[in-house]
């Protein structure tokens, strides 16, 4: 009898808790227009000085605004916090960039109790001092910012960030001329600087909030920001929600009022949530690609958007037999990139023969420079090497050529396909190896022992800002970049430097094209494979862009709730 009573009480408790749960929730008068989004992973940091990955940059870029932005459609530099800018020269002949800012951007935060966005009572508008603080903070070695090196173009930044004894952050080449004008002084001419000035590491930052809360200033209860959205809640590793900032400059045009963001890491699970109508837009996992393309509903949702990233195979230019340009040429020219894309990667990627992808200032048109797929030329090139060395193909294959990639299913598939192409086209035997990412980076470092260095290895590169300087110069200039290919050509190095500091955009473009051509055709230091795409499905009720760079422009998207059937 007693136990029956216990069961009854327990049942009553469960039922009442269900009723309570059903009554709870709400709080908002009307349901806000809500985007159901998948961030994909926990953003490692929402601190603009510390953000490095796409997820963090996506959140930071929607909660803060920079001096400039990349147009979400064209990718070109456009006004944002600054309405105009011009370059000049200081007394010492250094280049300066002066940005004239708007005076109507508010600092805001989210009040979780009332569910409302509130203006900061003390610090009303975003000023040039906030920008100066943000830039200095990124460069300050105590901040320990990963991306600080992008600002090394600013006067004294490299010395200060390197822990200089004589210079402090106050010697940095950035100054507020008045409350709404900020001026940068550069180390050397940089026509691409307006793009860098709009990056998250140079955002205006709330000094008072950062100093009051230290490392926890990015938690929702402490977060102060100035962008189209505010941080409404953040359950680490689980969910991150953004709410519309009604005080934002273009708030009237922002239609999506709330972004409910999950952090589903497994692509197939996110895709299942999409099919179940719980997410409005997701990436398509490779195994689903064929089904999506053939399904009448899903294929209508499908979109391939180019992403400014390039997948490439580097050659170790100092390791025999790849120290000979003819061997490198033979291997580069016997990769059938289109076949690889059609049969393996399947996402409509663009075959690459040069480094910087379309949309990057100075990037050559795809296919214009570089070595095309040409089996006869490849064979001839290898034969000429073999003849000179008096080698047979068997002797060549006895050199045990290694292609290495970091451990990943996708890289393994690509490596297997290209390995087969080399066998079919050249008769070359290449051994494929893989290593865990951190180990792999050490193995292929440009000062790692040559013995352990593979002959051929994969890497990718994605744009930080849309200019060739970020590509051919920062990656392959052996004086300044990391250049894992170990190629060393003084003419090439001089060319990328000249292209970066030239004044005339047309001249810069021409010089970059020359540099791309030299690196891919004459030096053949590497074999570009393809330019990335992101393959997404989007529900018909969501109208969105696919910004090639930086954060998603949620503020410009629209969502038709009626069509969704809410």
């Amino acid at each position: 009898m007693k136990s029956n009573k216990t069961i009854l009480v327990f049942a009553a408790l469960i039922i009442s808790s269900m009723v309570l749960a059903a009554c709870g929730g709400g709080g908002l008068a009307a349901d806000p227009v809500t985007l159901n989004w998948n961030w994909g992973t926990e953003p490692p940091s929402l601190d603009p000085s510390l953000a490095t990955d796409t997820t963090s940059v996506d959140v930071v870029g929607n909660t803060f605004i920079g001096l400039t932005k990349f147009d979400p459609v064209t990718g070109e530099v456009a006004p944002y916090l600054a309405t105009s800018w011009e370059s000049g020269e200081d007394a010492d002949g250094n280049q300066t960039w002066t940005f004239h800012m708007r005076d109507d951007v508010s600092w805001v935060s989210y009040d979780a109790e009332s569910g409302k966005v509130v203006k900061d009572s003390e610090h009303k508008t975003v000023t040039a001092h906030d920008v100066v603080y943000g830039v200095k903070r990124t460069v300050d070695p105590a901040t320990a910012s990963d991306y600080s090196y992008v600002l090394y173009i600013v006067k004294n930044a490299a010395e200060i960030n390197g822990g200089s004894e004589e210079l402090t952050v106050d010697d940095l080449g950035v100054v507020a001329l008045d409350d709404y004008t900020v001026q940068f002084t550069l180390e050397r001419q940089a026509g691409y600087f307006p793009a860098i000035a709009g990056m998250w590491i140079a955002y205006p930052m709330p000094q008072w909030a950062i100093e009051a809360h230290g490392e926890t200033w990015t938690e929702p209860e402490n977060f102060v920001s100035n962008g189209p959205y505010v941080l409404a809640s953040w359950i680490h590793g689980g969910e991150l929600d953004l709410a519309k900032n009604p005080f934002w400059i273009n708030a009237d045009d922002v239609q999506i009022e709330y972004i409910h963001g999950l952090m589903i890491e497994e692509a197939s699970t996110a895709f299942a949530l999409y099919e179940n109508g719980e997410l409005d837009s997701v990436g398509v996992p490779l195994p689903e690609m064929d089904r999506v393309k053939s399904d009448p509903v899903l294929s209508a949702d499908y979109y391939e958007a180019p992403t400014p990233c390039t997948y490439y195979y580097g050659f170790t230019n100092t390791k025999p037999p790849f120290d000979d340009v003819r061997v490198r040429k033979a291997f580069a020219q016997s990769i059938d990139r289109q076949s690889l894309i059609d049969n393996v990667t399947k996402g409509g990627q663009i075959p690459a023969t040069s480094f910087a992808p379309p949309g990057i200032f100075g990037a050559p048109e795809p296919g214009k420079v570089g070595l095309p797929y040409d089996v006869d030329a490849a064979k001839a090139s290898l034969q000429s090497y073999l003849d000179e060395k008096g080698m047979t193909m068997d002797e060549f294959n006895a050199l045990d050529i290694i292609l290495m990639h970091n451990t990943s299913e996708g890289h393994a598939l690509i490596a297997a396909a290209i390995q087969q192409m080399w066998t079919d086209n050249l008769g070359a035997d290449v051994r494929v190896e893989n290593q865990e990412w951190g180990v792999y980076l050490k193995t292929t470092q440009n000062d790692a022992p040559l013995d352990g260095m593979p002959h051929i290895w994969r890497l990718g590169w994605c744009a930080d800002y849309p200019d060739e300087n970020n590509w051919i110069h920062e990656v392959f200039n052996s004086d300044e970049g990391e250049n894992r290919t170990r190629s060393d050509n003084a003419d090439f190095n001089a060319l990328t430097v000249a292209a970066g500091s030239a004044d005339d955009p047309a001249e810069r473009e021409a010089l970059y094209e020359q540099a791309e051509q030299m690196f891919a055709e004459e030096m053949v230091a590497y074999a570009p494979i393809y330019h990335y795409t992101t393959v997404q499905v989007t529900k018909p009720w969501l109208t969105r862009h696919f910004p090639p760079l930086g954060a998603n422009d949620f503020y410009a998207w629209t969502l038709d709730d009626a069509a969704r059937g809410q």
Binding site: S17, L20, D47, P141, G162, I235, H236, G237, T269, Q445
Partner: protein
């Protein structure tokens, strides 16, 4: 008994120290560091130096370990570490601004809820099916239970979980596809709050608990069957029957209790493993548990996180094993610890 327990707890100290030391040293022995690169980009040396200085990775190894263990204050250094001995598991190197304590406090409760439910499910399915299989040895019931057990042991969660999602969430629409029904803050730091303890909570839990519970259930079922078959042939069971006890009493009171000793033995490690998070099930069901940190933090070279979660796992394991030993004494009166 109490003296035994106290003695065991003292024995935990060297075990946990060794676990911490090994994890700490071995992780740092792997080539590559946490700040070598952003994506495919290598960082300039002075940038790496700034970050390493902030997290004291530029210190000699013994000093880093001392700082991790005892805190920076005792070493007379300025720093952020308060020491594992004082409950501070350190700062995550990957998730800048988050402490390992924060990460554990957010994710461990969810893993524990999932784990406890799946162990309960495993026992609820495993012991009865194992018992029936043993009592009805070589009948269709035995064969069915054996067959089911082999299937659930053999099919990995990596396969089972997506199939469950496809059938029960996408095709039938009975359960949610993914995520967990409870969010922090948790009741007593572990359990879902009363307002979240509802139908939605259970409907989110059913598929992952099933996926995680069935493979353990299969193991428990096989073990119960084998052990019970052995016990049934013991002399004391014959005695019990001979003195005229009802068959139900013989099985429930005398046979089953003794046959559970092997089951309890595997329950300790099993409990520790599932309660601290399972990588595959949590990943596929999009559950924000601790399992992912065991795997991701190695790739990230996030030293404090991997050391922290390993230590938590070790603590749960030694406690679970202690509980197992205590349960032995209850199950088998011949076992005495004093």
């Amino acid at each position: 008994m109490l003296r035994y327990i106290i003695r065991r707890i003292f024995q935990f100290v060297p075990v946990l120290f060794a676990v911490t030391l090994f994890t700490f040293v071995m992780m740092r022995a792997i080539p590559g560091g946490p700040f070598d690169a952003i994506g495919d980009k290598t960082l300039p040396p002075q940038v790496v130096a700034n970050i390493e200085a902030k997290y004291h990775l530029d210190w000699p190894m013994w000093k880093q370990f001392a700082s991790y263990l005892l805190g920076d204050k005792i070493l007379g250094e300025e720093g952020l570490s308060r020491g594992v001995l004082f409950g501070d598991l350190g700062l995550s190197l990957k998730f800048r601004g988050q402490t390992v304590n924060d990460i554990v406090a957010t994710t461990l409760p969810i893993s524990a809820q999932l784990g406890i439910m799946s162990v309960l499910l495993a026992l609820l399915i495993g012991i009865p099916t194992g018992t029936i299989a043993a009592l009805k040895q070589n009948t269709w019931m035995d064969y069915t239970s054996t067959f089911a057990a082999v299937v659930f042991i053999s099919v990995p969660n990596l396969v089972l979980a997506p199939i469950l999602i496809w059938i029960f969430s996408l095709k039938l629409g009975w359960f949610p596809v993914a995520t967990w029904g409870a969010k922090p803050p948790f009741f007593l730091g572990i359990f879902p709050r009363f307002s979240q303890f509802n139908m939605s909570y259970f409907s989110h839990a059913i598929l992952p608990v099933f996926a995680l519970g069935t493979s353990s259930a299969a193991g428990i079922s096989r073990l119960t069957r084998a052990s019970l078959l052995q016990v049934i042939n013991e002399d004391y069971i014959r005695t019990a029957r001979a003195k005229g006890l009802r068959e139900q009493t013989v099985i429930a009171v005398h046979a089953l209790k003794n046959s559970l000793i092997p089951v309890v033995t595997i329950l300790g490690p099993l409990f520790a493993a599932v309660v601290t998070g399972t990588f595959v099930v949590e990943l596929i069901f999009g559950i924000n548990g601790m399992g992912k940190h065991f795997v991701a933090s190695i790739g990230n070279r996030d030293y404090p996180v991997i050391t922290g979660v390993t230590l938590i796992y070790a603590i749960v394991l030694v406690i679970a094993n202690l509980l197992v030993d205590i349960t032995y004494a209850w199950l088998d009166p011949r076992i005495r610890f004093d």
